[in-house]
């Protein structure tokens, strides 16, 4: 492999230079993994069958909250066909996705925290045997008080669900203030206070989590798993199994959908790994749909209160947001989610002064985490519905109001996020035009309406989950004499098309066909680290790494070919599987010959590329959540028909415009946007992760209402409206070929746009998600009775907030530090984090 400092490696003809010449990028293409997917040949984790393979089932707690007094596994161990029974003491080391929340155990040792928390594992010859043996494990529980929601958590400090956290059952409190918000309110012409509730919902990937682990011939561990984050799983396995990470190989199998539900290291992954090491035979687990609901890590239910001051023209003078977040039983990504819930309010519209107070509580339910949009769809819903109310009171068209206050490109926001390209205004104009908004808004007949909302989302988290200075993504390329190119990268294909992004970028730079490329992704042994498929980071980060590696390879090849053809290397072009003189295109050679020439000249050719995001100006504590190399923007108009007799909502059409920077493969980009719309519509109208508390006098039970794909109502393709998608392309300097994200942002405007459309249709405000016929009927009844035509929460409880970190915004001379905290030049690891990471 050539030395990275090799002076021969120079950048030739940046592929960004001449955009009209792109052959692969921007061309709608069949994705590279499409054939395998549609012919059923993609090997998901559950498709793996190995000789001597045993099957694992987990015994899960039937109680929402209890201490484990004693576990007797003897009857299960003696059951014919059972190979092994594991309990918490076999894998006691705590782990968790965030260094600050190492609060999970693969099998609970002495405390169960929700129905479905695993307490023992049976590994048997057949899955049925393992299932039957679960009933032979005797667990003696001491029942503890059930804590079913955040208000109960605030009122019930004891018993604590966890021994760590702020106090009692409060997991995390956040208080940040950027500028003096009270002064902002004093300057306002009008002040709006609204409370909203966003019910929790889940990812519902079609593929249920599955894993297979083996002890290799040489005693090392390999695990195939449907995970979005093989690197973080790798770290968790090393920690819990007390094995050198170098002896562990994690292979992320293609995920049949993830949406954030496969981003944590999971107990079942650790259990099968442990069992495979003990038994020295392959061990597999495939969760049932019900168990996926217990893994959850989905949308946090959030109660929120927005107080916003505005001028008569709609300009915001100050905003104060409070959130009460139902975290469920474990930390998961919750600390980050708590910050995210307050992070992005400033990235769409100019908010000169901003205060955020967030509180996440533990409750006895499956843990919540980073579902698509991670912590931001809930406050986005509140903010966009409140803007609709503001526009109405100020008698300004809601589209015009937003156009008036859109944040500028390259701005640094009040909370010190540096924006990149911002084409939100263009998004708004496009959907307004396409939907004929001006002819429809407040003009359609009773029962029909339109609503508009916008959003922003990060293109990759600016910081990794554990603190380190290494790249966030790496790519290696191997050039074969055949002209074949292999890409090695830790990036994980979860259906979003990350493999295609890598292949497309490399193919573009080298002038070859994406189908000539082989991909080895999501494998910790083969490829360099990529942090995982979360936070919309892969296209930008792995894409930039691939771009760098490809350009380096191109430079080496160009060097060799230039000599051979006697053409200055700057004049060489790579296209149509040829390397040729751009001045005299007939003078050239096929790509494979070019590789051979370069190999003969320089030896075996392989290159690497990596990507590290730029440093963020947000230096204050908590400023690590929200910064991103650049942000995507979306605007949506939703049309609804509301039946005033039944409250039934139908959505005939949705227009969405998404500021994507550049669509690398427009087919895929549109797929992401439409998929987001689909998921958003499910959240808006029907999806609920709901729990049943049985009558307290009779039972302590707190169970998932219906953990099945039939009864957890989610729309199917037949329920989808017509979606008119526009991609707004202004290449962003941060992205590979200018690309920004498309996987999460377009989900965000859907829920508030539906709510705003329902108001336009029947004149009632549903300040709560999902918007069900029952809620509409109740609000219509209120309207009829002459009361406030609204359904939603009326009250935000009192919380003892800590003193806010006060960070003066850039326009008040702030440097990104809090004035009442030790200044931090760059982000450093806090002591607490250091202890918990080790």
């Amino acid at each position: 492999m050539p030395n990275e400092e090799d002076p021969r490696v120079t950048r030739v003809g940046s592929p960004r230079a001449n955009e009209d010449d792109l052959r692969v990028i921007g061309v709608p293409r069949r994705r590279v993994d499409a054939r395998a997917k549609v012919t059923g040949q993609t090997r998901f984790a559950d498709d793996i069958f190995l000789p001597r393979m045993a099957f694992c089932k987990l015994l899960r707690s039937p109680h929402p909250h209890a201490r484990i007094r004693r576990i007797d596994t003897s009857r299960a161990v003696a059951h014919p066909g059972v190979y092994l029974v594991l309990t918490g003491k076999d894998v006691p080391i705590q782990y968790g996705i965030l260094p600050v929340s190492q609060d999970e155990q693969a099998l609970c040792v002495d405390h169960v925290r929700h129905v479905g928390d695993p307490v023992a594992a049976v590994i048997a010859r057949e899955e049925l045997t393992a299932f039957e043996a679960l009933d032979l494990i005797d667990v003696d529980y001491e029942i503890l008080t059930t804590i079913s929601d955040p208000k109960e958590a605030l009122a019930t400090p004891e018993p604590r669900i966890h021994e760590y956290g702020e106090q009692g059952n409060i997991h995390k409190l956040v208080a940040l203030e950027f500028g003096n918000v009270e002064e902002g309110f004093a300057e306002a012409d009008e002040i709006f206070e609204d409370t909203f509730f966003f019910q929790g919902n889940t990812h519902l990937p079609i593929e249920q989590h599955a894993s297979v682990a083996i002890k290799d011939q040489d005693g090392k561990l390999t695990i195939w798993s449907s995970t979005q984050t093989p690197h973080y799983l790798h770290r968790a396995l090393a920690k819990v199994l007390e094995m050198p990470a170098a002896h562990i190989r994690v292979i992320a199998t293609p995920n049949g959908g993830g949406f954030g539900g496969k981003s944590d290291p999971f107990n079942h992954e650790i259990v099968v790994a442990k069992a495979a090491l003990i038994l020295d035979r392959p061990v597999k687990i495939c969760l049932t749909r019900e168990e996926v609901f217990y893994c959850h890590r989905g949308r946090h239910p959030i109660l929120m209160k927005f107080k916003t001051g505005v001028k008569k023209d709609g300009a915001i003078t100050g905003m104060h947001l409070q959130t009460l977040i139902d975290g469920g039983a474990y930390g998961s990504y919750g600390v980050a989610s708590t910050f995210y819930a307050g992070a992005l309010q400033t990235t769409t519209y100019h908010v000169p002064r901003y205060r955020y107070q967030g509180c996440r509580t533990f409750t006895n339910k499956p843990p919540c985490g980073p579902k698509r949009g991670h912590g931001t769809p809930q406050p986005r819903f509140g903010q966009e519905v409140q803007l609709d109310k503001i526009a109405e009171r100020l008698k300004i068209d809601p589209a015009n109001l937003r156009l008036h206050i859109v944040e500028s490109p390259n701005a640094v926001t009040a909370n010190f996020f540096r924006l990149g390209t911002v084409n939100l205004s263009e998004c708004i104009r496009r959907v307004v035009e396409a939907s004929r908004w001006k002819d429809k808004f407040r003009k359609l007949s009773e029962g029909r309406g339109v609503g508009l909302a916008c959003s922003a989302y990060l293109t990759g988290a600016g910081l990794p989950i554990y603190w380190n200075k290494m790249p966030h993504s790496g790519v290696q390329l191997k050039f074969d004499r055949s002209g074949g190119v292999s890409i090695f990268c830790g990036a994980t294909e979860i259906g979003q098309g990350s493999d295609d992004v890598l292949a497309g970028i490399v193919a573009e730079v080298l002038g070859i066909n994406p189908f000539d490329i082989r991909l080895f992704t999501g494998d910790t042994d083969l490829g360099p680290v990529d942090l995982g498929s979360y936070s919309s980071r892969v296209t930008l980060m792995a894409g930039n790494a691939a771009l760098q590696a490809a350009e380096r390879g191109k430079a080496i090849i160009a060097e060799g070919v230039a000599e051979k053809l006697e053409v200055p290397k700057e004049r060489l072009s790579f296209a149509d599987k040829r390397v040729f003189d751009s001045v005299a295109p007939e003078k050239g050679i096929p790509f494979e010959e070019a590789v051979c020439i370069a190999e003969a000249r320089f030896g075996t050719i392989g290159t690497v590329g990596s990507y590290t995001p730029p440093k963020s100006p947000a230096l204050y504590k908590g400023g690590g959540v929200g910064p991103s190399p650049t942000y995507s923007y979306s605007a949506a108009v939703v049309e609804v028909e509301v039946n005033p007799v039944t409250g039934w909502v139908t959505v005939p059409r949705i227009w969405i415009a998404h500021d994507i920077g550049r669509a690398l493969n427009p087919t895929l980009a549109r797929g992401q946007v439409e998929g987001s719309v689909y998921m958003g519509l499910g959240e808006a109208l029907m999806e609920e992760q709901e729990f049943r508390r049985l009558p307290r006098k009779l039972s302590h039970a707190l169970v998932h209402k219906f953990p099945s794909i039939l009864e957890y109502k989610s729309p199917t393709s037949l329920d989808m409206p017509e979606v008119i998608t526009e991609l707004i392309e202004e290449p962003d300097p941060q992205g590979p070929f200018g690309a920004k994200e498309a996987g999460q942002g377009p989900l965000l405007p859907i829920m508030p746009a539906v709510a705003n459309a329902v108001y336009d249709a029947v004149g009632v405000r549903i300040d709560e998600i999902p918007i069900t016929p029952e809620k509409i009927m109740k609000a219509l009844a209120e309207k009829k009775a002459g009361r406030e035509p609204r359904f939603g929460p009326s009250h935000f409880p009192h919380i003892n907030w800590p003193e806010a970190l006060r960070v003066p915004p850039p326009w008040e001379g702030g440097d990104g530090n809090a004035v009442n905290d030790v200044p931090r030049r760059t982000r450093t690891v806090s002591k607490k984090e250091k202890v918990l990471t080790s």
Partner: protein, 251 residues
């Protein structure tokens, strides 16, 4: 994944053979038609029969006879067949509509008319896995003592969600029940009990062999279904109606 419990499997070729198997096994055996209700229930351990007896190989149960004096529909006709067959129109429209609104195309390809009529009653506390039901200490209908829908009640309130049931009732359908010792025909409207546990008057040794209808010449019928999700869902509410219009009078 959820696994079926082990069971013995029989596949008789005639109604007589089937009736005699049931006669011998009584409550130990359950007839299996499309299995779209029974097999998921078995995975959840709501029903754990020692033997399943398939009805799909009994030819007479797959027949349709439609003529001027009325119609006889074999209980093993699939819902897809009923929904697609142009002969199930006019008077029989309600039945075709109901069949076409059950579940999804894949399920309708397996699901049968007899199975739809005999469908187990449903309830949110009951249509759950064994583990889930364990965490509420089960309920009256199976393995428990309390009804969680109405804790004071000594009766189970689970209801049948059959789509074809209401349609067939509106059409005045009768069903033929065959056991080893006897054969009887009852009005479909009389087949059900107002009890979520003992919901059907079919005895365990009886097979619902066919559905019969009087001539529906001149009748019009329709079936409407309210469901939470438009693409597929069990009914929240169903309404079926059949009318015959005569000059200035509605019967």
């Amino acid at each position: 994944m959820m696994r079926l419990p082990l069971f013995e499997f029989r596949a008789p070729r005639t109604l007589e053979e089937a009736a005699s198997i049931l006669d011998g096994e009584r409550a130990n055996a359950m007839p299996l038609a499309g299995g779209t209700d029974l097999l998921p229930n078995m995975k959840r351990r709501q029903q754990v029969p020692r033997m399943l007896m398939s009805l799909r190989h009994i030819e007479s149960m797959n027949c349709v006879a439609l003529n001027d004096s009325g119609s006889r529909l074999g209980a093993c006709l699939t819902l897809s067949e009923i929904a697609a067959d142009r002969r199930f129109r006019n008077g029989l429209t309600a039945l075709a509509q109901a069949a076409s609104l059950v579940a999804t195309p894949q399920i309708r390809n397996m699901a049968t008319l007899g199975g739809n009529i005999c469908l187990d009653t449903r309830c949110n506390y009951y249509d759950q896995s064994y583990e889930w039901r364990k965490s509420i200490n089960f309920c009256l209908k199976k393995d428990g003592t309390t009804c969680w829908v109405a804790p004071g009640s000594s009766k189970c309130m689970a209801v049948s969600s059959t789509d074809t049931g209401p349609a067939l009732m509106a059409l005045g359908a009768r069903v033929r029940l065959v056991s080893r010792s006897e054969e009887r025909e009852v009005l479909l409207a009389d087949l059900y009990n107002n009890d979520g546990i003992d919901y059907i008057k079919r005895r365990p040794d009886e097979i619902l062999a066919e559905v019969s209808l009087d001539s529906l010449h001149g009748w019009k019928s329709t079936y409407w279904k309210l469901r939470r999700r438009g693409s597929f869902d069990f009914p929240v509410l169903s309404v079926a109606a059949a009318v015959r219009l005569r000059l200035l009078a509605v019967r």
